[in-house]
């Protein structure tokens, strides 16, 4: 594939994503020039919670899970819970655009995945220069963050129900022993 058609391909992926869909052709081409493609195997980690957030990413192929680590006592093995499953053309790694530029979740590939990694520094500089596209991108980004918040809410409810269920069964077993 020639570099021109590869760039057009990147632009079409960006156009299909929620965050960059409102951008015009010239701006899309500029953002596409900041992007590089990467491939990961199933089970591979795209980034870890706490890593410096250098890139904002768009999933072009595959599926991946974003997970958060639960604090556990040092004697017990660490536990992670999945907050959301990312599908094709979805944006993740939004921390690259928001201070303190540290990833808040871990991204693990469920299937073989290809992603577009957009350089966060360059994108932030572009958004500062051009306020109009900055508005559109941040509006899309706000939707991504809101969706992640909604998913986290569901996980929280699920975990609470789980904990309540465990406590209830413990109480019942104590009562039956007594």
């Amino acid at each position: 594939m020639s570099s021109e058609s590869a760039e057009k391909n990147i632009e079409s992926v960006l156009k299909g994503s929620l965050v960059f869909s409102a951008l015009g052709e010239d701006d899309l081409a500029t953002v596409a020039s900041f992007a590089t493609g990467r491939t990961y195997e199933p089970g591979g980690t795209v980034f870890n919670e706490g890593d410096k957030a250098r890139d904002i990413l768009v999933l072009t192929e595959g599926r991946l899970a974003v997970q958060m680590a639960l604090p556990t006592p040092s004697s017990q093995p660490g536990r992670r819970i999945t907050v959301d499953i990312i599908g094709e053309k979805e944006v993740f790694g939004w921390s690259a655009l928001v201070e303190p530029y540290v990833y808040t979740l871990t991204a693990v590939c469920l299937q073989k995945a290809t992603v577009l990694a957009i350089d966060g520094d360059k994108l932030r500089a572009l958004l500062q220069q051009k306020a109009d596209i900055g508005y559109h991108v941040l509006k899309g980004l706000a939707k991504v963050v809101a969706s992640r918040l909604q998913d986290t809410r569901q996980v929280l409810i699920s975990e609470r129900l789980l904990t309540a269920g465990k406590q209830e069964s413990r109480v019942r077993s104590r009562a039956s022993r007594a």
């Binding site: 195997e41 199933p42 089970g43 599926r63 899970a65 997970q67 093995p77 660490g78 536990r79 992670r80 819970i81 999945t82 907050v83 959301d84 499953i85 693990v108 590939c109 469920l110 299937q111 073989k112 998913d151 569901q154 996980v155 409810i157 699920s158 975990e159 129900l161 789980l162 269920g165």
Partner: protein, 215 residues
């Protein structure tokens, strides 16, 4: 081999159980429809292999509460950490509606891994006998190819490319030899043609002379 299956739709539990029990020596000892039951089943039954759908709900929900259905990976990772010897297969593409609409015949489906551009079929016996094939857990897809069709590996592809190259090369050699022989015999051909032309001309002239001078 004792197997536990964890997926929410009941029909998918039955369907996966059919695929598993197609394999000699494999027995489904437990089935679970959510994360809590999957963990309990693995703790109580201590299976050799656990097959987990990546779209697994955390627990039994209330109708008015939307629960997360993304706990398959968490359960798989948790079992792998707590039971290092356990074999855990995470099904990453289990679209139950699509699979059930396509076929209900377990003969037509198989587990496979995508690795380096190759599709690698594997069975539960592979998982049990050869140990961890890729990672813990094993990330697997349910394939929709007939199991009897060979799936090509890199070596098989190279073999096929080699065979094609030999066949085309052979055709080239035969064609080249024919052209070379033709080229070598060109002077003889020209001489014979010239002799023929002279002979035909002589014959025509003789006939013409016979007509002009009949006596």
């Amino acid at each position: 081999m004792r197997v536990v299956i964890a997926t929410e739709p009941l029909e998918m539990q039955r369907f996966l159980a059919d695929i598993v029990e197609e394999q000699p020596g494999a027995v489904v000892v437990g089935q679970a429809e959510n994360a809590v039951r999957a963990v309990t089943a693995v703790d109580n039954l201590d299976p050799d292999v656990t097959i987990i759908d990546s779209n697994l709900p955390y627990s039994v929900g209330l109708d008015q509460v939307a629960l997360s259905r993304a706990s398959g990976l968490d359960v798989a990772q948790g079992i792998s950490v707590r039971k290092p010897g356990a074999r855990v297969v995470l099904l990453t593409n289990l679209d139950s509606k699509a699979i059930l609409e396509r076929t209900l015949n377990p003969h037509e489906l198989a587990f496979f891994l995508h690795r380096d551009g190759d599709i690698i079929p594997f069975t539960l016996q592979d998982l049990g006998q050869r140990g961890i094939m890729h990672d813990t857990p094993v990330f697997a897809s349910i394939g929709t190819r007939p199991r009897t069709l060979p799936m090509r590996t890199s070596a098989q592809r190279l073999k096929r490319i080699g065979g094609d190259a030999i066949f085309l090369g052979g055709l080239g050699i035969i064609g080249g030899l024919l052209l070379t022989i033709t080229w070598l015999l060109t002077p003889v051909g020209v001489a014979v043609t010239a002799a023929g032309v002279v002979s035909v001309s002589f014959g025509l002239m003789t006939k013409l002379a016979g007509k002009v001078w009949p006596r």
